[in-house]
Point group: C2
Chain length 100, copies 2
């Protein structure tokens, strides 16, 4: 059996990135790996959590998948990852990231 | 340095549990560990994903924390876990689970 797929990150909506980052940093043991006025990226032990202003970055869940290109044309991001977006039956935004 | 905290599971809203489970099962390599008409639990490589009818179970992110009891009185669940709920500054529902 191949290994189970992994979830790379979750992006949840916040109104103010700075205050949300402060709360998560003071509440949990995590590392802030990126932060600007529109979003931040926090590293946890098993996954990364993005805090996003929804008007700038959509809330979503990002899965790694060995056949990501089957879901659509992959867009190359500045950090070298490649992905596309789909929606689940309930309309939740789902990012499919290439596993490489 | 102590290890980074982990995220135990994420619960995202769906309108119909059965169709959502079908989509996630057919889209990703994951295992369905629980399913009824109001919610389902899917196991991924690094985390679990709950699909919930929001009127029955709130969407949330669940963190494990070695000092969960500091956040409030912990409620014992049928599966033996203990947790309480708080909200982040943006109003997102956050479950704090005891690490034991």
């Amino acid at each position: 059996m191949p290994p189970l797929d992994s979830i790379d990150h979750i992006a949840i909506p916040v109104e103010d990135v700075a205050s949300a980052v402060d709360w998560y940093k003071s509440t949990f043991h995590c590392e802030v790996t990126y932060q600007d006025a529109t979003w931040a990226f926090l590293k946890f032990g098993n996954i990364q959590l993005a805090l996003v202003i929804p008007s700038q970055h959509p809330a979503h869940i990002a899965f790694t998948n060995p056949h990501a290109e089957k879901f659509g044309a992959l867009k190359l991001h500045r950090d070298g990852t490649r992905s596309c977006y789909v929606t689940d039956p309930a309309g939740n935004s789902v990012e499919i990231m290439a596993a490489d």
